[in-house]
Amino acid sequence: MNAPAKMKASDFKSDLTPIWCPGCGDFHVLMSITRALAKLGRPPEEVAAISGIGCSSRIPAYTNCYGFHGVHGRSLAVAAGLKVARPDLTVLALSGDGDGFSIGGNHFLHACRRNVDMTYIVMDNRVYGMTKGQPSPTTEPDWDSALTPGGTGMNPFHPLVIALASGANFVAREFSGDIKACTATIQEAIEHPGFSFVEILSPCVTFRPDEKEWKNQVHNAQVEATDDPARAARRIMTDDGMNTGVLYRGSRKPFKASVKDSIGDLSTLEAAFEV
């Protein structure tokens, strides 16, 4: 990554009007991402934003980067393929809690483990927004919905702990409304080598109007980020889920395979078949 050029957040915004509900937290996430990219200073064409399906997954087309809006749940795998094939690019995977932790859970586990140098931002609103309000893995057990009358009764999922246990190299949680913190953390996540994971609490004002209260509930983690995953995991497992900030900075080796200069002459390969 070269030294920041004079780029503005607006250089990273497309001219499409987002189709989110007025007040949706994702507007702020979009702002933070474009600001972080501007600070990073790479031109938009060297950044690729990969997503799945969901309200949150609509985000790539609202940036002025290269984007890929794929099928539900697979953003991480598409992004990993892209990054290994094109190590020169800055690759972001962008997802929702349903896309990323429910149908996409397996790719999450293995992306952390694989530790490809990219950044994963999940807009966690603890609900399936796009399909009109079903519980996601991060939804509280007693949240009532048409699909799960009376609530799921299941403990919500700890994305940050799973990330740590599976080997993510940078782990943070932010709140969408705090654009400054989000911007700084996203920038750091991108600059951190290996797989960086940022969970952004991003309210769904339509199906979870209660989340409008989040702005009063989040609080900055009172602790310094650690580089001991076991310690970080224990800490997160016992926090209230509203702690924000960078929680873990690791130094594991990023994934080794990547495409280099292609050799066009296959004669050595062909010779191997001669008898």
Partner: protein, 578 residues
């Protein structure tokens, strides 16, 4: 080479044992030695579900001419043991007049062998091996067979020495001792099946499996990225690509599942790199959603499906041609794409390369339907020709105007920018979208883009690679993919009997090459459609899309037993007699 008057143009033998005994290594050594000596040939392996201790057999056919498929019965059968023989011996019948060499310590031969019209000879293979320090039965078997078909020690030992080089001279010497023991033991055995002299090849022969060939073909086509989830019988494609991609500056990533592997190659291809994955039926099923994404987002990818017996998890180690339906029709929504199939082990190379050419030219997914019978066969072939397609994605060139990724063009192919190109930014989308890629629920956008994606395939010049039309006569044997070899042998046999039959076989499965196929079928009197699918998927596919000649019969069945040239001959003969 043996110089008796009674020389054979073809000889087939099987070496059977239990997993771990090295029967397949023995077969490979013989095949390679034969290749060096100028023969053609092929080797199939037959393995049970057990990794070790289960049955394992090498089926080898050697020939003075190109050999298109395995023979249906075997001149020589060497049994290292008879464990589980009942389970598989039906698949390797001894030819009339053949010889079976069995270790008496391994118990009585199975019923099918005893009942066969052949000579059974006892040979204490195990004891001979044990008598040599470090000796192994499989090298004894190599000696036995070599004696019977007329290969000599030097031919064999050259291969053995190369294979064992890393293990040192002692190992090589043990191999030689074993070989000699087997060779000696067989001096008195009869009948023998000495091979005629092989023609001297112009260039070095290749020894290659279909799975290797399709991998190399894809790389010839420009593939430098792959993502892999292992599955029998496709794993060798991936295992071929892993080190060889790395050698050529590419990379292979082992994925957590097939949902990931297909997604990864889509990502890499979006980044501009021709990309491939290989799988079999169960994995292909899991890839269908993302194959649809590749079609809708117009991302070129190649998926090699090495078919096995289905449905469901079926029989992993055996062949069938029953993934045609899913490959052609297994998408939700209407998603035009291309399906092609190699016509032989050697043709895997061409077809693998062609697949990449089509995918890249059309920005569409291409599915290659190989199968276990060719994927895992090892053959001796002439070095395949260099083919170079002018494969290039239609590139985006910044002309200062707004870029529309999915612009409507005369040939249906829209210029595609690649990440890194300034001014070419767009978001690829699997949702219904307009020319720019923005999601839309407008009828016009849907129609425009659907038409465009159909058109680009309709207008594509598939050249004369659609398939083969060989022989003459107004009887047509119509088949596709791997059964081409059997059908080819059948028309040769029929010609010998004075029945003229033609072979028409499709490499281009979908879209059907209507013009070429109609031409090929024009005036045909009788058409026999041959395929390895119980429901006749190929036949139903053809008739769903085109008017078929009136006089049609089908020769089709489920796997694992592969339709043989003889069966085709018998059907035609019968029909002709009526």
């Amino acid at each position: 080479m043996n110089a008796t008057s009674d020389l054979n143009k073809n000889v087939s033998f099987a070496i059977v044992g239990s997993g771990g005994m090295g029967a397949i290594t023995a077969g490979s050594i013989m095949l390679e030695a034969a290749g060096k000596a100028g023969f053609h040939g092929l080797l199939n392996r037959s393995v049970g579900p057990q990794i070790r201790g289960g049955e394992a057999a090498a089926l080898v056919r050697l020939s003075t001419q190109p050999a298109f498929c395995m023979s249906k019965d075997f001149n020589i059968l060497v049994a290292l043991d008879w464990k589980n023989a009942d389970r598989f011996i039906g698949a390797m019948p001894v030819a009339a007049g053949g010889i079976v060499i069995a270790d008496p310590a391994a118990g009585a031969p199975p019923r099918a062998v005893i009942d066969a019209d052949c000579t059974i000879v006892e040979c204490p293979i195990g004891e001979l091996a044990k008598a040599i320090d470090g000796g192994r039965e499989n090298m004894i078997a190599v000696g036995l067979v070599s004696r019977l078909i007329g290969m000599n020690e030097e031919q064999i030992m050259e291969i053995v020495a190369a294979k064992l080089k890393r293990k040192g001279q002692a190992a090589i010497d043990i191999g030689r001792t074993c070989f000699r023991a087997g060779f000696e033991a067989a001096t008195t055995f009869a009948p023998t099946f000495p091979l005629a002299d092989a023609p001297t090849p112009d260039a070095k022969r290749w020894l290659i499996t279909g799975n290797e060939a399709v991998g190399l073909g894809a790389m010839r086509g420009g593939v430098r990225f792959s993502a892999a989830y292992p599955i029998t019988p496709a794993t060798e494609v991936l295992e071929y690509l892993a080190p060889n991609l790395a050698k050529m500056g590419g990379a292979l990533v082992q994925a957590e599942d097939e949902l990931a592997s297909i997604s990864m190659i889509i990502g890499a291809s979006f980044g501009g790199l021709p990309s491939v994955t290989a799988t079999s039926g169960p994995g292909l099923s899991l890839m269908m959603e993302s194959l649809g994404l590749a079609a809708a987002s117009e991302t070129p990818i190649v998926v090699i499906d090495v078919m096995r017996v289905g449905p469901s998890t079926g029989i992993a180690t055996k062949s069938e041609q029953s993934d045609l339906n899913i490959a052609v029709y297994g998408f939700h929504g209407d998603a035009p794409h291309v399906v092609i199939a190699p016509l032989s082990v050697a043709d895997c190379l061409f077809t693998g390369q062609w697949a990449v050419h089509i995918a890249e030219s059309l920005q569409t997914p291409v599915i290659v339907l190989s199968d276990q019978s060719i994927g895992q066969s090892r053959v001796l072939i002439d070095r395949p020709a260099d083919i170079s397609f002018m494969t290039q994605r239609k590139a985006y060139i910044d002309n200062g105007e707004d870029y529309f990724r999915y612009a409507v063009t005369a040939d249906g192919v829209s210029p595609m920018s690649l990440p890194g190109q300034a001014g070419g930014q767009y978001t690829a989308d699997g949702l219904t979208h307009g020319e720019r890629g923005t999601p839309s629920s407008d009828q016009n956008d849907q129609k425009q883009q659907m038409d465009k994606r159909g058109l680009k395939i309709d207008l594509f010049n598939f050249g004369d690679h659609w398939g083969v039309d060989e022989g003459k006569g107004d009887i047509v044997i119509l088949t596709w993919g791997s059964l081409t070899g059997a059908a080819r042998e059948a028309i040769v046999t029929l010609a010998d009997e004075g029945i003229n039959a033609r072979l028409v076989s499709l490499r281009q499965v979908s879209p059907i090459p209507f013009e070429a196929l109609n031409n090929a079928l024009f005036g045909a009197d009788k058409v026999l459609i041959v395929e390895q699918s119980a429901s006749g998927q190929f036949y139903r596919h053809l008739r769903s899309q085109m008017d078929m000649p009136d006089n049609i019969r089908q020769l089709n069945r489920e796997g694992p037993s592969i339709i043989s040239p003889d069966e085709i001959v018998a059907q035609i003969r019968d029909w002709n007699d009526q």
